[in-house]
């Protein structure tokens, strides 16, 4: 039986609590609160109620027949997390953490965001539960995702553009940590991915695990059996952990994480620490594979999708890689775009650019598989937010 992390927050050698002393008591408080409420029937009932009536769960699984037929191999099934309220899997976690914040008596929530999906999901639940909300976002991402910024503002959140460092997700995370350490009494930090200090990687995974719990029931109903492989994109890795989790103990189901290959692995401009076997290091509170130079400085990453543009990866993915349970590959910007357009044309679904990486890998391996084989792709988000990016890549200006 898979049983990670251990009581100190480690997944084998990965994870842990690498933060300054100033944050230790807050993490202790969070750990205790989470331990208390994760098994509390009232908390679970409240969470399930909102997941059903507010988020719209369970999300369906859809058999992409035309696309599968065109690829000529394995049947591709899509877990439709894009149909959730706010348009991505991120809300599964923010509902959970916001309810926890409420139980802990914290009236203010903060978040970091890359593509803006986690920021929107946080601003949404903050409005829903009447909490003050501040979202940190790299100024580069603020430009790339102007619509999501406006969305957060509509929901009553304050969006703070972060000008330091590479002005992307990692810098937003640094800034959110700084806010948290300064306002620790009244503030709950809603981390959006399976990274950060313990208990975050475990907690964010647990709240997203609803995705695979549903798949385990839905796949036999729809496809007559469990999939041969589950495929998901990996930036920090929250949607992947969500869709992998219930399948970890089913050895017949292959788990494939798809990282951002950017302009190509050879170009160095990517965000694929696992695929490229980057050195292991410590960043943002945990030990994990990290994109860094020979002196241990974190290097700038590139991906066409802001949500995958992160130099680290959740520690549990590092462990799943080392233990051999999951396999990690990279998909380049142009391959992701091709899958994006194919899904638009053939299935009438506009996927997020992040999820398009997972789709592209499915498209890559499906033709080599028999027609009786089954691939399950986590369609983690919808692509409305990516209109400007895709148009620009196609040379179109509005």
């Amino acid at each position: 039986m898979y049983n990670y992390p251990d009581s100190t927050g480690h997944f084998g050698p990965y994870g842990g609590i690498y933060v300054a002393e100033t944050l230790m008591s807050a993490l202790d408080e969070l750990k205790q609160a989470y331990e208390k409420y994760r098994h509390d029937p009232e908390f679970i009932a409240e969470l399930n109620y909102d997941l059903k009536h507010y988020v719209g769960r369970p999300s369906p699984i859809y058999h992409a027949k035309r696309w599968s037929q065109q690829l000529g191999g394995a049947q591709i099934f899509l877990k439709r997390e894009d149909l959730n309220h706010t348009g991505a899997h991120k809300v599964n976690n923010t509902v959970g953490q916001a309810l926890l914040a409420r139980r802990m008596g914290k009236p203010r929530v903060i978040a970091e965001t890359g593509a803006g999906q986690h920021g929107v999901a946080t601003a949404t639940v903050a409005a829903r539960y009447g909490m003050e909300c501040v979202v940190y976002m790299g100024s580069e991402d603020v430009q790339r995702q102007a619509q999501n910024v406006y969305r957060m503002k509509l929901l009553g959140a304050t969006v703070v553009p972060v000008e330091s460092g590479s002005k992307t997700l990692k810098d937003a995370l640094n800034e959110a940590m700084r806010d948290w350490v300064t306002n620790i009494e009244n503030t709950f930090y809603i981390i959006g991915t399976v990274a950060g200090p313990h208990p975050y990687p475990m907690m964010v995974r647990d709240f997203n695990a609803i995705v695979s719990k549903e798949c385990v029931v839905q796949m036999p109903e729809l496809a007559g059996r469990q999939p041969d492989a589950v495929i998901a994109c990996v930036g920090g890795g929250s949607n992947a952990m969500g869709v992998f989790y219930s399948y970890i103990d089913m050895p017949g189901v292959k788990l494939i994480g798809v990282e951002a290959g950017g302009r190509g692995i050879g170009s160095g401009q990517h965000a694929a620490p696992l695929t490229t076997n980057s050195a292991v290091g410590v960043l943002h509170g945990n030990r994990t594979y990290l994109m860094q130079d020979e002196n241990g400085q974190i290097i700038e990453t590139h991906s066409i999708s802001a949500g995958l543009d992160y130099p680290g990866v959740g520690p549990e993915h590092s462990w799943l890689k080392d233990s051999g349970r999951a396999e990690y590959v990279a998909i380049n910007d142009d391959e992701a775009l091709r899958a994006f357009h194919d899904l638009c044309h053939l299935e009438g679904i506009i996927p997020a650019l992040e999820s398009s990486h997972a789709l592209a890998h499915a498209a890559k391996i499906a033709p080599g598989m028999g027609k009786d084989k089954v691939l399950l792709v986590n369609l983690s988000g919808r692509g409305d937010k990516d209109m400007a990016t895709v148009a620009r890549a196609s040379g179109i200006t509005f």
Binding site: E21, T22, M24, G165, R178, V181, L283, G296, Q297
Partner: protein, 266 residues
């Protein structure tokens, strides 16, 4: 006896408090780091905390982040910082140097190699902000093997159990972070330090230095009265930022002399 212990013993004899300035190695330019170290000693520094630049200094405010960015622009690596200490030691064998920074550059070098090199060049202590006692046991064993003091942080939010744990693992001195926040923040709460000090002293026999939020002579004096050493970081880094390469050594000297006079009134 280690340099850190020697200096605190000497200060105690004279009923003086330690002045511990911080700046980032390589800021504003690598060639000025060793001259700045000597100038700090002349101006009255007892111990110097030398920052190792890191790309993602999460526990620091923007002032020190910018210092890291300036140093990194010049390509300053952990190897370079160690070489700077070696160069400083050719003329100074008594002032303790504590390297302060984040764990990842050390991880990249390897702890054993780093600790050995620290001992060779004359580094006395190492403070890795993001390695709390829970995660540092293995790493710090390498430091202790080579006689380097691991310096630990404590905070207003540290529980009694944590203070006790740090008391067992710490060497050299303990760095008490005087406020909830990052370096360079403004709101120093003296009554909080006064309230916390007896709890710390109950478990900790090592000297206690206090930092975060000390910006001028008045705050330096007030804090010096409450503890064994005063750490001043962002204020010095700000002085470096506002100076030119020509006058930075003189400006920093002047500032540290003023702080010295204030601390000596305690």
């Amino acid at each position: 006896m280690s340099r850190i212990q020697t200096i605190f013993d000497k200060l105690k004899q004279h009923r003086r408090k330690a002045l511990i300035p911080f700046f980032t190695a390589g800021d504003p330019v690598p060639s000025l780091t060793v001259p700045l170290l000597h100038a700090l000693v002349e101006a009255g520094a007892d111990i110097i905390e030398l920052g190792v630049p890191f790309s993602d200094p999460m526990a620091d405010g923007l002032t020190i982040q910018r210092a890291s960015e300036r140093a990194l622009k010049h390509g300053v690596s952990l190897h370079d910082v160690l070489d700077m200490v070696a160069s400083f030691r050719t003329k100074n064998v008594s002032t303790p140097i504590v390297l302060m920074g984040y764990g990842n550059p050390i991880e990249a070098m390897g702890w054993e190699r780093f600790a050995k090199r620290c001992a060779e060049v004359g580094v006395d202590g190492v403070l890795t902000v993001d390695f709390p006692p829970e995660e540092s046991h293995e790493a710090f064993a390498h430091l202790e093997k080579h006689g380097i003091d691991p310096i630990f942080l404590l905070a207003p939010t540290s529980t009694d159990a944590r203070v006790e744990r740090v008391a067992k693992q710490a060497h050299g001195y303990v760095y008490y972070v005087s406020l909830k926040g990052v370096t360079g923040a403004g709101h120093l709460d003296l009554s909080e330090i006064e309230r916390k000090m007896p709890q710390l002293k109950k478990h900790i026999t090592l000297p206690i230095g206090v930092g975060f939020g000390i910006r001028d002579e008045a705050t330096a004096l007030a804090v010096a009265k409450l503890c064994d050493g005063v750490v001043v970081g962002s204020r010095i880094v700000q002085e470096i930022e506002n100076s030119t390469e020509q006058n930075v050594v003189a400006n920093v000297s002047k500032l540290v002399k003023e702080l010295r006079q204030a601390v000596d009134q305690a």
